[in-house]
Symmetry: C2
Subunit: 257 residues, 2 copies
Amino acid sequence: MTKKPLILVTNDDGITAPGIRALIDVMNEIGDVVVVAPDSPQSGMGHAITINSTLHCSKIDVDHGPQTEYSCSGTPADCVKLAVNELLGRKPDLCVSGINHGSNSSINVIYSGTMSAALEAGIEGIPAIGFSLLDYRWGADFEVVKPFVKEITLKALENSIPENVVLNVNFPQGTETPIQGIKVCRQAKANWVEEFDKRTNPMGREYYWLTGKFVNEDQGEDTDEWALEHHYISVVPVQYDLTAHHAIQNLNTWQFE
Amino acid sequence: MTKKPLILVTNDDGITAPGIRALIDVMNEIGDVVVVAPDSPQSGMGHAITINSTLHCSKIDVDHGPQTEYSCSGTPADCVKLAVNELLGRKPDLCVSGINHGSNSSINVIYSGTMSAALEAGIEGIPAIGFSLLDYRWGADFEVVKPFVKEITLKALENSIPENVVLNVNFPQGTETPIQGIKVCRQAKANWVEEFDKRTNPMGREYYWLTGKFVNEDQGEDTDEWALEHHYISVVPVQYDLTAHHAIQNLNTWQFE
């Protein structure tokens, strides 16, 4: 690529989160950057879109950097739709989402606002990568992963992400044990075992907080969970065609009338 | 199955929507029914879950039917989590979601609250089916599809839905042209071309409404869009392992350092 790529940056933790600021820093070294991100945290929003209320969007300047920035009232998927259809003059060469404060490995991809933005870009034909760090804290250290964000992004621009696929990249916590490298993986088969915390409000009415425990029974060494546990960065190719093609033959034996 | 199956019913249009009432009618003919559904419409919520606020749930009686019903403040995925972990005494034999007022064919599956409930059940190891009717109107005619809902549900209980798969069933409008039959399909490769309706509020601030046009360039006769257009019911097996396994080999040639 001879001229600078146009890079759309978004996230789900909100436009002022340290994770997106780190991502913007790296992208400013690679291309022309436009940020369109939620004005407030949107974690757990999955692939929600705003269809029954209005969307607002304001041009803002967060850190006097070279990037252009818009703060939006919607979900991560809304931000990508607004960026592509209203705010950017042309289709971006790449969309990056994150760096999320917390894991989006394994089944978490399906609840993830970070990955929903990347998937939305993919659906619209834009190469896309979601980045997440396995550290939920606002003060998580993103410096140590920045060189890897840059390497993966440059490789993606150079090699082209396969069609109808977006990348889900998760970083282990790199501050205590050094990162061992980058592994291409499949999504581990794991899930959350919910434990609702049931309480009673001052008016005597019961309510619940959703809590839960992540359970991974997938022992495969080709999974993202294995890679992260062994201090590797996991790169999972993710698709938005949800058809279980392997199941079609079975269903065809059901003999519907 | 000799004893009556325990069936969990939910949706995303809200517990009083005509679509879920029709679904409850049919399920009452098949098993013991517990309804746990949102207290208000949740369309477009994708796989959102409520992690930063509390959930409320009330036992209610909508129509004096034999089913047990709970109205919940959360998203469709929240309803399934609450049902399975707090409200039902045992794991249900089946979870059905819908009947949605409007299509969840093709790429719509990814934005769909109806299907997110079915996927959530699938992730928790419960056989699950999402039903949708291609008629957005509150007054849509669900009577004509009831026999097909029953047939598909009975076939699913009899044959068992393949592991790690949930069914996405869409009904064509059956009132003008008779339904031609049931087809097992793949998800068509189609997407929405957004057109934001930009307006100015009374205070002079700009805002947007998300609108759009559905564009299907997939000519395959094995797709859900083809089936629905030709007055067939589409049944797509859907998976929640989003790994694009076919792309792993390509990514392994990228030679990360």
